[in-house]
Symmetry: C2
Subunit: 404 residues, 2 copies
């Protein structure tokens, strides 16, 4: 039987685990014995449109290259943010993509990405079925935001959560070093959901930061915020606050929306940044206190040196599974994780239809946030903890000593 | 013979190695067999003035507490920025300090800090000698800035340099992920000297970032900067620039001085921040290109999880040596490192007079910066490399794989 080729591509924002998923696809291709070459498209689906494919099975035959790949942050094939129109509205684009597939004899395409990319998986799979084209199109999930439906958590999130928890624990040691009142506001990514920001709560297992957490899931109230800050400063001169970039007031507007710096990307998403500065000004206008802003910026998604070993292992397995199902003829599905238990931590692997995931965002359940809306509950901590992949407890390496 | 007590305190900005120096003092106290208790002053010299001392020898008798201390970032005793006036101008303060010493039967005081703290060491030592008070006052150096005279490098710098080099290597993978032109400007600490910022050059051993480095040692020129950016963007769509917070124009003014956000601390130093934003605006006003600012903020000085093992070992040895010399009756001196060779990396330990260090700042030699003033030379890289304490080369864990 003719061995057809595999194509793989990466899309959306980088994570520290997305290359582990790529490695899983390549390894599965090799061990299956059922495929020819593995091609990678440069810059996601844009590489397919531009006929910009490279033979990565050749490069990754080196064992050492494969190991390096797993520990390389961001997308080793490059990425894009490119939304496909419907096949009805833009038939030429679909024809171009499937012509490329035919030219390279692609029988299996695995697209690694978030909810926007799963929309692409769905559209391409539907098109292939309608046109009677024999290409299996599968998705493999990734996003640091952890906002994907249909799965317990998304690959990439655990590593980002580990970075955030580790860094909050370290920042606590630094932020409290003087005896004068000081507020440190740390902004994490998270446009519409607060999973990343909420993960900062893990740092409380080894220190006192953050004392307050503000998430997009709860409307932000300026007065309640100022009350919270005053109350915390009456308890300790050092206050560390975690905020999500996407915190919004009750009217639904992002707190930094009036600051006039929101940009819109190709998917129509607004790009935030600067919520931290709005809160800094709010405090400065109402009390005498040193305030400092910290933005975790790209570091929270590309800190490969702090990648969660659990995250990398799961990400790799999901990539492998997506190709395994494609080889069985499954199409339009995405490989996902279901949690069986927290302790011992156990997951099961399965697939869901791409439309379960596409164009939707999974928020933190309201009951995992306290009534006041300024911290998270034990349920959330129990959920995140195993995803860090390392102990985060007293007597672990994250545990710091304070003598004062 | 009566065993007198030791006092130790920490001052100035946090580092990831300052607690290793504290551990060195305590361990030396224990193994010398010549001292009673080891007291720690809370919040530096302010704790001495406020009679706020704790018996840390008791706490640190637990072996595990000692190990945790070494790996705890920032100052485990708290810190301060408190400048002593001269004994002539402010005799009461000196009387208070030496009364506290007498009350706790302190025979040896080790002050861990930067150039401002070494001014305190000098003043207290001079006062003791003039007044005929038998207390040996010794300094132990620390600063991430690496700006201390009289030594090859300062403890704390190597760990910060490792954080910076590691993070630039990771940011490169992320910053280049799309095929559209993008400039990422990363601001490091370094008010008057560029050692921290220059350390980003180590990331070039495993990637292409940073392509440009701007330091306080070379006057910043807006037009030359824009030329550099245009030239680099013609070579690659992804450009990562490292800048020091303290870059200044030819007139000596900080580039963000007119932005009106410079604050002045207790030592009269201006606190910067925001040079990055000035350069972002400069680019935005002259070309069409996405520009992003990243500030390493506190993370660069408190990332204990990336501490340099060389840095920690040296910091601990210097703390031990400062107390050892104090026990021999030496006073007014600071323990320092002299480099014997780069490869194999070897240092020798000695002491210098506190005035060698006090109130001075050691800049990068001009010949370690290229003629254009936008990058560093191999000499600088050779100097910094052993201080990271880990291999930073192709085939090391910092080496990432790019497939496009």
């Amino acid at each position: 039987m003719r061995k057809r080729n595999v194509l793989v591509a990466q899309s959306g924002g980088p994570t520290a685990a997305i290359n582990a998923t790529l490695a899983g696809v390549v390894e599965q291709a090799v061990i299956s014995g059922k495929v020819g070459k593995v091609y990678g498209a440069k810059y996601g689906i844009k590489g397919v449109l531009a006929d910009d494919l490279i033979d990565i099975s050749e490069i990754l035959q080196e064992t050492h290259a494969m190991l390096r790949l797993i520990h390389t942050p961001s997308s080793a094939l490059g990425s894009c943010r490119h939304k496909l129109k419907s096949a009805e509205d833009d038939p030429d684009t679909y024809k171009t993509i499937f012509d490329t597939f035919a030219r390279y004899d692609i029988g299996y395409f695995v697209y690694i990405g978030g909810n926007d990319s799963m929309d692409t998986v769905h559209k391409l799979s539907e098109y292939a079925i309608k046109q009677g084209i024999d290409v299996a199109i599968m998705g493999a999930p990734k996003t640091i935001d952890n906002d994907l439906y249909g799965m317990d958590h998304s690959p990439g999130f655990g590593s980002a959560a580990r970075y955030i928890a580790t860094t909050f624990a370290e920042i606590w040691c630094d932020a409290k070093v003087y005896d004068t009142p000081a507020v440190t506001i740390v902004e994490t990514m998270g446009r519409h959901v607060g999973w990343l920001c909420a993960s900062s709560a893990l740092a409380r297992k080894v220190g006192a930061a953050p004392q307050l957490i503000y998430l997009p899931e709860v409307p932000f109230d300026d007065n309640k915020f100022l009350e919270d800050v005053e109350e915390q400063l009456s308890l300790s001169p050092s206050l560390v606050i975690a905020i999500s970039e996407g915190i919004r007031r009750a009217d639904g507007k992002f707190v930094n929306e009036d600051a006039g710096n929101a940009k819109v990307d190709a998917f129509g998403h607004k790009h935030m940044g600067g919520a931290c500065r709005v809160l800094e000004n709010l405090i400065n206008n109402h009390m005498e206190c040193k305030v400092r802003c910290i933005d975790f910026s790209l570091m929270q998604r590309c800190a490969a040196h702090l990648a969660s070993p659990v995250d990398l292992a799961e990400a790799k397995a999901l990539g492998a599974m997506s190709l395994a199902r494609a080889l069985e003829g499954v199409s339009g599905e995405v490989s996902v994780l279901t949690r069986v238990s927290d302790n011992p931590y156990r997951v099961e692997y399965s697939t869901v239809h791409a439309t379960t995931i596409a164009n939707r965002e999974k928020a933190i359940p309201r009951e995992w946030i306290n009534a006041r809306g300024n911290f998270v509950t034990e349920d959330l901590i129990r959920y995140v903890e195993p995803l860090l992949g390392v102990p985060f407890t007293r007597e672990s390496c994250s545990d710091h000593l304070c003598l004062y």
